[in-house]
Amino acid sequence: MENPSVHWNQFDRYYYQKRLVFHMGWNEINLDHYLIESAPFGGLIALLRDDQKIINIKNIQTNKNCIFIYTCSGKLISKLDYGDKQRVKAFGWTLDEKLIIVYDDCEIVVFDIFGEKIKTKCITSRDSTVHLVYKAKVWHNGAVILTKKNRLFIVENLSQPRFEEYSVPENLGIVSDLEILQPKFSLTGHTEVFISNLAKNLFIIDNDQTLEIEFEEMITNLKVSPTGRLLAYYTETGNLHVISTDFKSHFLEFQMNSKIKPKQIAWCSSDTVLLNFEKKNTLLMVAPSQSFLKYEYDEPLYLMTEEDGIRILTNSCCEFLSKVPEVVVNIFGIGSTSFSSLLYDASQSYEKESSKGDEVIRSKMDLLPKAITDCITASSWVFQRDLQKKLLNAAAIGKSYLDNFVHDIFADMCKDLRVLNEVRGWEIGMPLTYRQFEKIGIDLLIERLINRKHHYVALKICEYLRIRKDRVLVRWACEKVKSETESDEQILKSIISKLGKEENVSFASIASVAYSESKNDLAIKLLDYEKSASEQVPLLINMKNPGLALIKAIECANPDLIYLVLLYLLNTLDINENSLFQILSHKDMAINLLIKYCKHKNKDLLYRLYSQLKREPKEVGLLKITESLSDKINLEMKLKIRNESLIAFGVSKNNFLKKITEDNIKLVKLQQDYQQRLELVFIGLSINQTTAKLLELDLEKEAKKMKKTFKIPNDRYWWIKLRALAKKHRWKKMYAWAKNEKSPIGYEPFVEICIKNRVGNEALNYIPLVKDPYNQVKFYLRLNKFEQAADIAIKEKNQNLLQHVKSLAPKNLNIPSHI
């Protein structure tokens, strides 16, 4: 076997290797005729026929409005029909390989690879003007659209797409190129847009500002590096520049001295820039040191930047160009003396059953652990299986010399490489490097496999790596349900046999596919296996089975789900109220929720519901009163409804409610009368308040009438009058009243109310009328009438009380100290 280093090219201070990954499986594809976008991380390739190129007429009709989707090995996955109404202005891929298309009318659609629409978003405009796309660019989780009327729209999150508009400078002019800095790379956390124009300007636009830079020459191409830190741009006179995206540093200026515009510029990792001069059949790699490397091609090519290299796609093959990592150089480099290289050689001599290796390894035991890990790391970089084996074998041999080497990294690498070798095969055709695999993670890889319907491989990988496989199974089952050759019974049986014992399986999602395939019976049977009610209920509703849905919702007592069913029932015209009541019968929880909703929204239904449920007439009466208290109806209506409630209270023999409602109706009529006569508001006041208001207005006769009509107890009437007089400061009237009539509430309240209103002199009028001498003393003291207080104490012959008074009185007052 030849040394791998023979394929390396020394470049700058490093080695680069261009590896052939696949011979393309497609036939007669000429990349020159297509617009091409490939998903990163060894992902799928989408080909859209380029309108501006002339191609063979016979293919046009059949493949009109189609995007072809191929694997990197050139295997056709699907022909995606994007419709004939709109034109595609830009397209690209999400990380889990869904195709994003931006149409000329600013609609963005995300398709799965078999042509199903997953998300659609259009700019909704209040005045329904149609925006037309001028330039658009897609990245894996968003898009930027510049319209013909120079408005700039950004979509940042395709799972919840929303348009945000950036303001565009007025001097934008004719655009030469447009590039995006993804939000995760920008300082502000918002997408930044770079636009260059023919007027030699570069605009950097984000959500709240625009920066304008003037250049000496026009920029023709812009390209941000995969880490977002660097920006490469190419100018009209053939200068390539690399600067930082914060525009603070300048790293490279490389003069081509050629006016030929490269077809594509692309980054190889973030290290070098590649220029695709198709017309000259050259691919040029330029390094920061200004050194360059030329590759010759005799066919069109397409460049796809990866995190750790670059994929080069031609009509015939797919290649991967990347820097050779240091660990690999150390092992295979010509004349390398690193210990990992020695370990590798030693392992080779082991193969040849020579003992030379043993000595070598024992010579530097302290360097062995690092050498072992280096061999393992190196195995992750190489693609050939036999070379992987050899490197791992070297690591295994080295490991056997050590007692305490952590086995895990070796075992993990073996597992990961098995998985990677599987997906790198021609059939799946995903040339994922180990570093890319680390970056996207196993979850996304599984998702891609499922999306491509490689369920079996995905399942095997899950089992092999011992990770959750429920999602693979569910998605498999969803496909299974669509089967047209098998009977429902067979499908159910084969699904249950595979998924029945698994945990966390969402049977609801399988059932929903069954339903959308109009296999209702199968769907219901599948739903029985679903553990979570919140999954069952919505689907049962969709399946127009509200009765069962309601039962399931009540079973888990989730008010939200119950409401979901109730709202469905209320909004569905083909369900009449009787069947609504039938479904509801004996379901108290649902009934209570419906009542709550009806009180808020639908009073009429509530009455019918009450009568249907044979609720107590009292409840109906109370409901009427609630209604009658609403501000939205007029007085006559209020009285009418209150009269109706009387019937209900009569039926239920609720005499108290009946009586006070009758009282209330009487009251309202009286109030109406007063209101007209006095032009003051009475309605809404209680009996007390009404009486008080009348008294305040000096309408004693009317107040008395109130007292008589509503049988106000004498005590309470006195209190009302007392407060009313005090409020109006009618002290004389109050005193006359107190003298003429005997108070049933005593005279303490009179004193209190005078003190409270700060009319102490008035208060003094009533103290002699107070019966309890203690209270008399108390009041006198509060009014600072110490002599009077003392008099009472003396009159009562209470020495202690007198003492108390004296102790509080000012010294200069002549209070006797003995009785």
């Binding site: 909704t124 405009s125 209040r126 005045d127 003007t129 729209f153 919840q160 929303r162 348009f163 508009e165 956390g189 959500n207 709240d208 966390n504 553990k531 979570s532 009610a533 888990c556 989730n558 008010p559 939200d560 789900l561 409401y563 979901l564 709202l567 929880m589 209570n592 929720l593 009542i595 709550k596 909703y597 808020h600 929204k601 109370l622 009163i625 609630t626 208290l629 501000d631 108290f656 409610l657 009586k659 006070i660 009282d663 209330n664 003051l680 508001v681 809404g684 006041l685 209680s686 009996i687 007390n688 308040q689 106000i712 107890p713 005590d715 309470r716 209190w719 407060r723 509430i745 309240p749």
Partner: protein, 639 residues
């Protein structure tokens, strides 16, 4: 000012800290998810809840420009992104819709980009609220989200859902909040471990306990976590509505009765704290971050002043150590302690002023003393006070306080005789207005106000005797009956019995069945063997969370704390609740909200204006006529 409680030195339930951090992070993530400048329009009751989770100034750092209380009132703003933070109440949806529609209309037509409206429901979005928004004309341009603010640590040992409307919902027969309580309890178990033993008492508690078990099945809770709480005792507020009617007489309870505590904050008139000349209310935080308050809060009011005097002496003697300092070392020591002493000093100032103000409102107020007297006579001897209540109504005293004593008496004596029942109800309607038919009806349904049904064996007198509720000697022994000056809160008494080694579950069950509810039971949640072992190895006391469905009072919280100190049980109690309540709040929750007061004023004004306008018109016409006449006369003269 933040009312966030310090959770750094927890002995029990250490997981609460990471739980709160998680919730805080969730909120900040929500703010981050709405990029750029934004205004938050917030349910007023959530502001307090939020400040228990994070420091409000943090909002500014996350580009929150304004915090606007939710209402239908229009407001103008340049900010494009409006974030609503609301409880999923049907009644709030109207306000949300009003705001969104107003702002949409205010946009210029040229502006075609969608206005950014975000509605975050706390703690969970409900279908019905989304539906109502839709019906109110809120279009699809709104982004919905959830902020899972469930149990909030009010203090080291008090966790509340701060759902003030929970009890009101139960009154109206809507028990859907149980589902959300259950979600909250499941949620917190992923931080404090699965609670292995559950006891319940009451119909709501029973449903809740069943939900908890079911939800655990549906969620994938990690059962290998060592349980930090061993027991969960779920009780219904509705089983004991008597205790909240009794005036709370512990320090914190008293503050709540007089000034109202909301989310550990009390708002005081500035003159209470001796700050003359200010107009704005002063806010004071009441939690155990304030060490002095944590010593005071559970004390009976009678013991507060003596304690403060002692404390004052100790503070002043601490200051005096400065004078005794003999060398630089001593002085340095003193200076080290100084900030603590000063903090204590400041706190002392607050509590002395507060205690003095409370004194003036209580022991210095004959009305209050009279009321207390009647209450105690009712509790201890079932002595009725019909005349007092009648007087209160005649004097048109505050309805809530009238209903409190009326209900207390009804519950103590097992209901009023027919005639009396109708008399009081009639008095109340005549005095306070017709709409209180609903209040009375709700109170009747809750069993707080009723007609007597002859002599009942399950009356309060029996409960008092069987549960040994009255302890006249509370001042000398440390007993939790001190929170009501001798009357022990019933639920706390039952909890004590449940965990008393001599009595235990069976006695508890019998008593609860006899006097309160047929729904009493216990349930078990399985945990992993490893977790079981770890729980056994734990040398600290086992923790029991007593969860009050429908609210707990400060007096009851204090009673539980005193129970912890009584050391009769081998268990440390903490409190969970839907919200913190008191007698006033319970009574108020039975009121049907009719906003006729405001309307009344408006109508009055309208009529008055109409009258004035009429008069003006008449005068105008008169003048016109006069002018006409003059003209005519002039014309005649000319002629």
């Amino acid at each position: 000012m933040s009312s966030k409680i310090d959770l750094d030195n927890l002995t029990y339930l250490k997981g609460i800290k990471s739980y709160r951090e998680f919730v805080e992070k969730e909120f900040l993530n929500i703010l981050e998810s709405v990029s750029g400048k934004k205004a938050i329009i917030i349910d007023p009751d959530l502001v307090g809840a939020l400040s228990l989770i994070l420091e409000i100034p943090v909002l500014k750092e996350h580009n929150v420009d304004k915090l606007i209380p939710l209402s239908s009132e229009p407001f103008k703003t340049q900010i494009k992104k409006l974030v609503f933070l609301v409880r999923p109440q049907m009644s709030s949806m109207k306000k949300v819709a009003d705001q969104i529609i107003q702002h949409e209309q205010n946009q210029t037509k040229k502006d075609s980009v969608e206005q950014n409206f975000y509605v975050f429901f706390v703690p969970r979005v409900t279908i019905i609220c989304k539906k109502i928004l839709e019906q109110l004309g809120v279009s699809g341009s709104v982004i919905y989200g959830e902020f899972h603010l469930d149990l909030i640590p009010f203090d080291e040992d008090v966790y509340s859902l701060a759902n003030e409307k929970a009890f009101r919902d139960f009154v109206l027969g809507d028990i859907s909040s149980l589902y959300y309580i259950s979600r909250a309890l499941v949620n917190i178990q992923s931080f404090i471990g699965i609670i292995p033993e559950i006891y319940y008492m009451g119909k709501h508690s029973k449903i809740l306990s069943e939900m908890l078990l079911r939800m655990r099945q549906e969620s994938d809770l990690d059962d290998s976590l060592t349980p930090q709480v061993k027991y969960l005792v779920i009780v219904d507020r509705e089983n004991d509505l008597l205790t909240p009617m009794v005036t709370q007489l512990n320090y914190e309870g008293m503050i709540d009765e007089l000034y109202g505590i909301s989310h550990t904050l009390v708002e005081l008139d500035p003159n209470v704290l001796g700050k003359e000349g200010k107009i704005e209310k002063e806010k004071a935080i009441l939690n155990s971050n304030d060490l002095l308050f944590s010593e005071l809060r559970d004390l009976n009011m009678a013991l507060v002043s003596p304690f403060l005097v002692k404390k004052a002496r100790s503070v002043s003697s601490q200051y005096d150590t400065r004078k005794q300092a003999r060398n630089i070392g001593d002085l340095k020591n003193f200076i080290k302690k100084l900030p603590n002493i000063q903090r204590e000093h400041a706190s002392l100032g607050t509590h002395v002023s507060l205690t003095m103000d409370i004194g003036a409102k209580t022991t210095g107020n004959s009305d209050f003393l009279e009321r207390l007297d009647y209450e105690l006579n009712l509790l201890v001897e079932s002595q009725q006070c019909d005349d007092y209540i009648e007087d209160c109504i005649a004097q048109q005293k505050d309805l809530i306080s009238v209903l409190r004593i009326l209900c207390l008496q009804s519950m103590v004596i097992g209901g009023f005789k027919n005639k009396k029942f109708d008399f009081f109800r009639n008095e109340i309607i005549q005095t306070y207005g017709y709409r209180h038919v609903f209040t009375l009806d709700s109170l009747e349904q809750l069993g707080m106000l009723k007609k007597s049904e002859g002599r009942s064996k399950r009356g309060f007198a029996q409960i008092r005797k069987s549960l040994d509720l009255i302890d006249e000697n509370y001042e000398n022994t440390k007993h939790f009956s001190s929170v009501h000056s001798g009357y022990a809160p019933q639920i706390i008494k039952l909890v004590q019995i449940l965990f008393n080694s001599n009595q235990g579950y069976n006695v508890f069950k019998d008593l609860a069945n006899n006097f309160y509810t047929p729904d009493v039971g216990r349930k078990r949640q399985e945990i992993s063997i490893q977790a079981k072992e770890e729980m056994k190895e734990n040398t600290e006391k086992h923790v029991c969370m007593v969860f009050f469905v429908g609210g707990v009072t400060f007096a009851e919280i204090s009673a539980i704390r005193i129970l912890n100190q009584m050391e009769q049980t081998g268990v440390h109690f903490v409190i969970g609740t839907t919200h913190i309540t008191n007698g006033n709040k319970i009574i108020e929750s039975t009121f049907e909200k009719v906003e006729d007061n405001i309307l009344q004023k408006k109508k009055d004004e309208f009529l008055r204006n109409k009258k004035i306008r009429l008069r003006e018109k008449q005068q105008e016409q008169l003048q016109k006529q006069l002018l006409k006449k003059e003209k005519q006369e002039k014309g005649k003269k000319k002629n």
